[in-house]
Each structure stands twice: as C-alpha cells, then as structure tokens.
Amino acid sequence: MIDLTPNETVVLLAILRLKENAYGVAIREEMARITQTTVTYGTLYSYLDQLFRKGLLAKSYGEPTSKRGGRRKIYHRLTPKGREALREAYEFQKTLVDELGDWVAEFI
C-alpha cells in the first residue's frame, strides 16, 4: 500500500481528470476547483516532484509557446503505480464511509 497524503491524492485526482492536459496551471486550477482553496506553484511543484520520485507520475514535454514566455509545458500523467495508489486511496475512503459514515453522522 502506498500512503498518500490528502493533498497528494488531490493532485493525482486532478491529473487523472485533466487527462491529456495536465500541466502546472491546469492542475492548479483543477485542484482549486476540487478543494476550494489554492496552493502556490512552489507547493504544487514540490508535490509533483515527490510523486514523480515515488514513481506515481510520468512526465512528457510539450512545445514552447510565446504565451508562456517561450517555456515548455510539462504534462503529467499517472503511471500504473499511480493509478493503483489512487485506487487504494479511493477504497480506503470508501471503507471509511461505509463502515463509519452513518455512525459518525449521528455525532455531527
């Protein structure tokens, strides 16, 4: 089992949903949409670095555009290991909800 922090899970989720278009700006927007808060680019890139180092992400390079000051995009996608991690995280959350959901609801 690969442990993911909630933020990492959100990053993976965002990349998964963006499919072919998962580069920095888009990922950040998608994350903001999911969590209703923004992260800085510095934080985002350190998540991306960590996930890449863990082997959950793969990169590919896009073409440079003038809109980006002549810099290339890096597109991210999930590796099989990344998908597996996300699935495990999903199942864990699901178990939590199934097992405790109704019970906890009473207290809130």
């Binding site: 680019y41 810099r71 995009k73």
Partner: protein, 893 residues
C-alpha cells in the same frame, strides 16, 4: 539572451513578470523542472494581467515566489545531497580503482601537511609565550639601552635601586618588581631528603602581584615579604615533602648555610613562560638587594603600568630620569659630571620598556635566557612550512591532472546527462577536499609519531594536545579547505572545460607547452632544494666527523668530572690522596675550569713593559696534576711540581698561543706582574713552562692565548679523575663513596669530559639532524613531483610511444627516451643549486675555526645520488609505458 527574449516578446504582451523569479529559481533549482514552473507562472501572470491589471498581477507574482522559497530550497538541498552522495561514491571508486596512484598522491599531501602542521604548531607555541598573565599588555621589562660608537646595546640587567626609583618618580607605574635570573647549583635539604637544585631564583614580594602563577597554598601578597622565605612549585614540593603541605616547612640551603621557610606553593610553571624556576626565594634575603649602586647590573626589573599610561611617553622621560639618579653617584665616584662625560664620549645610556609578550622572541635585548626563542628561526621555519605545503599542493595538482584522461569520459557522460560545468567543478573540488581530509587524517598519524622527536629536537614541550586549542583548530580547518580547494582547482577547471563530444570519442590529448614548461620548472626547483639540503647533510656530517676525530691536544677519554668539588672544602688533598691509592685511578686534579667549560680572560703585563701593553689571556687555576689528567704535552720548560715550593705561589704556565701573543721567542724564565691572590704591587711570577696548544674550547674557536695559575681553593670548581677503562661502574662507586665520606653525604654530581665536550656541538648536531630530516622530506616530495611529471608526459606521448614501437623501437630504447628527461632535469637542478649550496654551506662552516674544505667530489656524489633516487622513483612508470602494447595506444585513430 535575455534582451533577445524581451524583444521577441515585445509585440502582443508588453508586460514581463518580475525578473526575480528566474534568479531565485536559478539559485535553488539547478535541476528539475524549473523552466516549466517559470512557464506556468508566466502563463498565469499574463492571465492575471488581462483580468485584474498589471499591478495586481505583479504583486501576486512576487507573493507567489516569496511563499514558495521554502519549497524551492527543500528541493535544492535534496538534490544537492543526492549529487553529493554520488560525488563521494565516485571519489571512493576512483580511490579503489587506482590504489597505487591514490596512495602516492595522498601520502605526498599528507607528508607535506604533517611537515607544515608540525612547524605551524611550533610557531604557534613560540609566538604565545607569557600570554597567561592578567593585564599582560601593560607589563614591561625595563631594559638598559646603551649606544656606544654608534652601536646599540640593549641588556635586560638593571641596577638594584632602579625599581624603587621608578615607583617613586613615575605615577604611571602601578607595580614594579625585581627578579634575579642568575642560576647556580644549590644543594637543598629537608630532613633526610636532599637534591641539587638548578632552578632557584630570587624575586621581590611584588612579583606575584605582576605575574599570575596560581597559588595552591599560601598568600601571594605576603609570600616573599620577609627574608629567608621561599615559594615552591608543586613538583619541587613533592620532591621534598611528598603529599604533605610544605607551608611553614624549612628548606636548608647547604652552600650558603641558610634556612628558608616555605611560604607558598604554586602550580608547576607553564612551559610557555620566559620565567622558569622551581624555587622562588625572597630577594631581600640578599644584602645586595638593598644596594643603591647604579653601576651594578644584576636584576631584571618588571613594571606594570596603569591602564591610561602611555609607554612611549614614559620612555621619553627615561634619559632625564637616568641622569638625575646616576649623575650624583657618578660625580662622587669619578669627580666628573655624567652629562659632560656622556657628551664627550658620544655615549648614550637610558632605559627602554620591552613588552612582556615580546621577551621570548626579542633578540635585540640580551638576556641569556636558556629558553630564548628566535624570530629569524621562526621565519625560516615558516617559509619552509609554506613552501612545503605549496609544493605538496602543486604535486597533488600535477598528479591529479596527469590522470585526467581516465576521467575525461566520465566528465563527458556527466555533461551529456545534464551536469553543468559548475557541477563538475563542484564534483572535483569535493573530491579534492575529500582527499585532503584523508591526507589530513594520515598527517595527524604522522604527527603523532614524529612530534615527540621534533619536540626534543626543538627543545620545547610541544604536545599533540596543543592541536585541540580552539583558535588553532579553527585556523587548521580553514587551511585544510583552502588547501583542498587550491589543490583541486586546476584539475577541476581543466577537466570541466572539455567538450563532451570530444571526450567521449576518445582520450583527449593534452596541449600547451606552457604548462609543461611550468611543470618542469617546478620539478627543477624541487630538486634544487633537495640538492641543497642533501649537500648540507653531507657537509654537516663530514664536518662533525672531522671535529670528533680531530686531535684536540689532550685526551678527553675516561675522565670523570666531579662538580661542586669545593664542597670538599679543606679536604682537597685528603680526597686526592685517598683516590690515587686505588690502582684503577690514574690521576686526580683540582681546577677552576676544564676544556669545554667557561673561561674568563684577564689582563697580564710582562716585566718591564709599559702599563699600556697588556695582554688578554684566558685564565685558569689548576693544580700540579692537571697536565697528567688531561695528558697535555709540554713544548718547553716544565709543568707545576708539588715538590718545588715556589711553584705554589710564583709560577705560571702558558700555552704556545700565549707565547706568540706576547711575542716571546724564549718565554721560559720571563716574569709577569702578579696581580692576583692578594699579591702586593710589584710582585712577580715566573713562566716555568709552555704547553703545546690544545683545544680548551670547541673547534668553533681558534685556540686562545692561555695562562695557568697555581691552584687556589678559592677558585675551585671541579675535580677531574682519570680512570682505567676496566670496570668503570666500580671505580665510579668508589669515588662516590669516598666523596660521601668526606663531604658528609652530599650528593655526588659527576659527568664525563668526553660527553661534555661533545655537547659543545649540540647545536651543530641539531642542524645536521634538521638537514637530514628535510633532505628526506624534500627528496620524497621531489621524487613525487618527478613521478607526476613523468606520468603526465607519458600520458601525453602514449601515441608517440606506440608509433615508435610499431616502427621497431625496443623497450630499452623507449625507456631511455623517457628517462632522458629525468637526467636532464636533475642535472639542471644540480647546476642551479650548486653555487647556492656552496655559498650556504661555506657560510655555515664559518662557524668553525677549524673546518673541512667543500670538495667537488661532494657535489658529484650528491648529483649522482639524486639521479639514482629519481630513476628509482620513475623507473617503474617508464618501463610500464615502454612495455605497453602499441595496439592499445593506437586503437583510437
């Protein structure tokens, strides 16, 4: 590039994001996805400019960067650590792959480091004398300053009344104290225990007010207040009283027959103190301490000034002060005015203040302290240290660079994989700092082994633990990094400059005649130095053999010298008679001095010559057996004879040099005015014999004119005993028991004349040993340098050698081709060094009045020796290169 970018972008969007991001990313994100991050930032920035205006966008941008800095740095350190780990790994691999080379390279640096560290330690030790006294920068020694005939003389001895007068006249002076530096041997007794003590000194009560020697018992303020009180060091106290407290105990000084009460116990003196004693007795014990005579010079005077006092201004008041105090006394004694006298004779006399912390190394002030350091020695040593370190570094550089072909591919691959030049420089610097650290560890081991012998050679208590002193440790670490970076600088810049395409294709050939010339020059320089010290070693050892083997004109073997012989008092002849009865004892003599010991000149006048015609003759009182003990030979006349009564009063014996000095062709029977031994004016003494010249001083000096006067108990210091060679311990035991019986059990202090005499060459033997050590080191380092150079040239000529072999050259021909350079270099070094070495050694030999010539043969031998050493060191490398398979070296074409 940046301006280009700007122009390109100046069309649709005129708003560039702040430049700061690029800079920060450049610092902290040398690897990774920095460019993409920048792209993202720019994209969003532009978007924000469009939606909410330039200003807000800029603010957002800056905020974004600022908040992200911690994230960036984390990443930076992470990747730096990863790369650092890789560098260490590579270093380790390189070390293992070429063990021999690494060994030589590291050892070379280690030897250089060890050598310079030991010297650094020594210099550090010498420069930190007398630093432990509170207010040390306000403590001065008052020294006499005399200018006579344009020559400066500064002496540390000052008059007894000076201290008191200073305190009274100058409000600047806070405390003043006197210290008597004279040493003599005392027999000290406490109960049953008695020892001979040489470290007995005297000082005023205020001594411990100025100088901080921690008291273990007793009161520093009052310890030396009364006459006949003494302060002991701990080890001296243990000697007499064991673990008991010495306070209030009595120490009996046999020679002066006085009892001193112990009033204080201090810790043993630190080695870095110019004041050295075991016993410090109260100065007012001696009546001389109350003398008001300004003409006497026998004490050191120390002052501590008030904090506001200006020492220079105080010095300016001294000439007047001196005239004020000495003037009346001078007038009373000579009837002349001091000021007139000084003016007429062109004579200047006053005082100077010598800072306490300068005393140890100050050679401008004469003080005859035994522990005295020498600033010029330190300078020479320091130069050697810097030089050794420099050469070791250069060799390290050379050897590392010579190996570059083996690393060029690695550099190429690294570059292709994305290393920047900076990173490669960083890698090699890491490597060289790492190697330096290894070399340093090795150097510490070398120091641990060598330091005790070095300390003995330098006659200083330098310990390994001195390394742990914070300031020293701190500067060492600094030096280490500088050495590592310096030694690694050339290889790293050189290696990192290669273009990857060239390095990966095949070994890069080295170009640049300039570098080679520099390298050769360095090797020549190293061998020139080696030549110098090797020749020095040879000359010193031959000169020492010469002085040891030279016929001294007397026989120094098997002579026992008994010190403090006058402790026998009236039993001189009884002692003598009881000794000579023993068949193992051949002769016994009482005398004032002995060859190799101290002699004083006195003036003598021949009968009938005018008072102005005086001759300075070295003078000694000796008895009738002196010539028998030493085996002296007579040139004319006879020696003292106990059967002739007038010999004891009105006879003298001179040496040939004295006869020559006084211009006497037939000296026997000539008469000399007798002005000693209570003789009345007009009494004469007759020259009864002339001794053949013998070396009563070391061979550093010419044989001086000498006169022997008949023995007098008042001038009795030594008794010398000539013994047979068989069973010396038994004979010594016999002399000792006789001594004990007649002196009432006083300790028997003896030595042997031959070893005493040899001790006169101790400084020269030290020089010889230092030369030997440095020739070994220099040879080692020079051979290393040569090895580096040869490795370099061989690498460079690999292809040439291959082609030569293909065309039919034999291994021996190739070897000769390679080693020819070695011969030329060593020969060049010898030619460069020979005149300097000749000059230097001639200068050293001038210390001796009797010396060997420096023959051409010595130069030849040294050159041959160096050539052999050089050949041995590079022979294997040359053979290996010559034997290499040409198909390998030519493969790449």
């Amino acid at each position: 590039m940046k301006t280009g970018n700007r122009q390109k972008n100046s069309g649709p969007i005129d708003h560039r994001p702040p430049r700061i991001a690029e800079w920060i990313l450049g610092r902290f994100r040398p690897t990774g996805d920095g460019f993409s991050l920048l792209g993202d930032l720019t994209e969003e920035f532009i978007h924000r400019v469009e939606t909410s205006g330039l200003r807000k966008a800029r603010w957002w941008y800056r905020r974004e960067i600022l908040i992200s800095i911690p994230e960036f740095t984390c990443n930076y350190f992470f990747w730096s650590a990863v790369m650092f780990k890789n560098y260490l790994k590579t270093t380790w691999r390189v070390l293992r792959r070429s063990k021999g080379f690494s060994f030589i390279n590291i050892t070379g640096l280690a030897v250089g480091l060890a050598c310079s560290l030991i010297i650094a330690l020594y210099i550090h030790h010498e420069r930190n004398f007398d630093r432990f006294h509170k207010g040390g920068d306000r403590i001065f020694r008052v020294c006499a300053h005399i200018i006579q005939d344009g020559e400066n003389f500064r002496g540390a001895w000052t008059s007894p009344p000076l201290a008191e007068a200073m305190k009274e006249d100058f409000p600047e002076v806070e405390v003043v104290t006197r210290y008597s530096p004279w040493s003599s041997t005392y027999l000290v007794r406490a109960g049953e225990k008695q020892f001979l003590e040489e470290r007995v000194r005297f000082a005023d009560a205020s001594f411990f007010d100025i100088f901080d020697f921690p008291f273990l018992a007793g009161d520093p303020k009052t310890a030396l207040q009364d006459p006949l009180t003494v302060v002991l060091t701990q080890s001296a106290s243990v000697r007499y009283f064991g673990t008991q407290s010495p306070l209030g105990k009595i120490l009996h000084f046999e020679d002066t027959n006085r009892d001193f009460k112990v009033t204080g116990l201090i810790q043993d003196l630190p080695p870095q103190s110019h004041l050295q004693f075991d016993f410090l007795a109260s100065l007012i014990t001696s009546p001389n301490a109350r003398s008001n005579r300004w003409r006497q010079h026998n004490y050191f005077t120390y002052v501590r000034l008030h904090e506001q006092a200006d020492p220079e201004a105080l010095e300016g008041k001294f000439p007047d002060f001196f005239n004020r105090h000495y003037g009346p006394q001078f007038q009373a004694e000579t009837g002349k005015s001091l000021e007139e006298f000084l003016a007429k004779e062109g004579y200047y006399s006053s005082y100077i203040l010598e800072p306490l912390q300068d005393i140890h190394l100050n050679k401008n002030v004469t003080d005859n302290l035994s522990l005295k350091g020498s600033a010029s020695d330190l300078f020479i040593f320091g130069t050697i240290a810097v030089f050794t370190l420099l050469i070791a570094c250069i060799n390290f550089m050379n050897l590392s660079t010579a190996r570059f072909t083996h690393r060029s591919k690695e550099v190429g691959i690294r570059k292709v994989l994305g290393s920047s030049r900076k990173q490669i420089i960083g890698q090699f610097l890491t490597e060289s700092v790492g190697l330096t650290l290894v070399a340093f560890a090795l150097a510490l081991a070398v120091i641990l082994i060598l330091l005790p012998s070095f300390a003995r050679l330098a006659e200083r208590q330098i310990r390994f633990s001195d390394f742990l002193e914070p300031t020293f440790l701190f500067s060492m670490t600094g030096i280490l990094f500088v050495v590592g970076i310096f030694a690694g600088s050339y290889p790293s810049f050189f290696l990192s400059s290669f273009l990857p395409t060239r390095t990966i294709k095949g070994p890069v050939s080295v170009r640049g005649k300039k570098h080679l010339f520099l390298r050769r020059g360095l090797v020549v320089l190293q061998f020139a130095i080696t030549f110098f010290v090797c020749l020095g070693t040879l000359v010193v050892s031959r000169q020492l053999r010469f002085v040891h083997n030279r016929d001294l004109g007397f026989d120094k073997d098997r002579i026992v010298i008994i010190h403090r012989a006058d402790a026998l008092r009236s039993k001189a002849s009884a002692f003598k008679q009881s000794l000579v009865r023993n068949p193992d004892i051949l002769a016994v003599s009482h005398s004032e001095s002995l060859p190799g010991r101290h002699f004083d000149p006195t003036t003598h006048r021949l009968e009938g010559s005018p008072p102005t015609e005086e001759y300075n003759l070295m003078t000694m009182y000796a008895d009738e057996d002196f010539s028998a003990v030493l085996g002296l030979e007579l040139a004319e006349g006879r020696y003292f004879d106990s059967r002739i009564p007038t010999d004891a009063t009105s006879a003298v014996v001179i040496n040939e040099a004295a006869a020559r000095a006084m211009g006497l062709s037939d000296p026997v029977g000539k008469r000399i005015y007798k002005e000693w031994g209570g003789a009345k004016p007009g009494e004469f003494t007759t020259i009864i014999g002339v001794l053949k010249d013998f070396h009563f001083t070391s061979l550093h000096e010419e044989i001086q004119p000498m006169i022997l006067r008949p023995f007098m108990e008042r001038w009795w210091n030594y008794t010398s005993v000539k013994i047979r060679s068989d069973n010396i311990p038994r004979t010594l035991g016999l002399i000792e028991s006789e001594w004990k019986t007649l002196t009432g059990g006083q300790p028997f202090d003896y030595s042997f004349l031959d070893s005493d005499f040899d001790r006169l060459y101790r400084a020269d033997e030290r020089a010889g040993r230092i030369f030997a050590i440095f020739s070994f080191l220099a040879l080692f380092v020079a051979c290393l340098g040569l090895f580096g150079l040869l490795s370099f040239t061989v690498e460079k000529r690999t292809k040439e050698i291959g082609i030569r072999k293909v065309l039919g050259a034999s291994v021996s021909q190739i070897t000769a081709l390679i080693t020819r350079e070695v011969f030329i270099l060593v020969l060049a070094a010898s030619i460069v060094a020979a005149p300097l070495a000749y000059y230097g050694m001639q200068k050293w030999l001038q210390n001796f009045a009797y010396r060997i010539p420096i023959s051409g043969l010595l130069f030849l031998v040294t050159t041959l020796f160096l050539m052999t050493a050089a050949l041995v060191s590079v022979g294997f490398r040359a053979l290996k290169a010559a034997a290499a398979n040409p198909s390998k070296s030519l493969k790449y074409e």
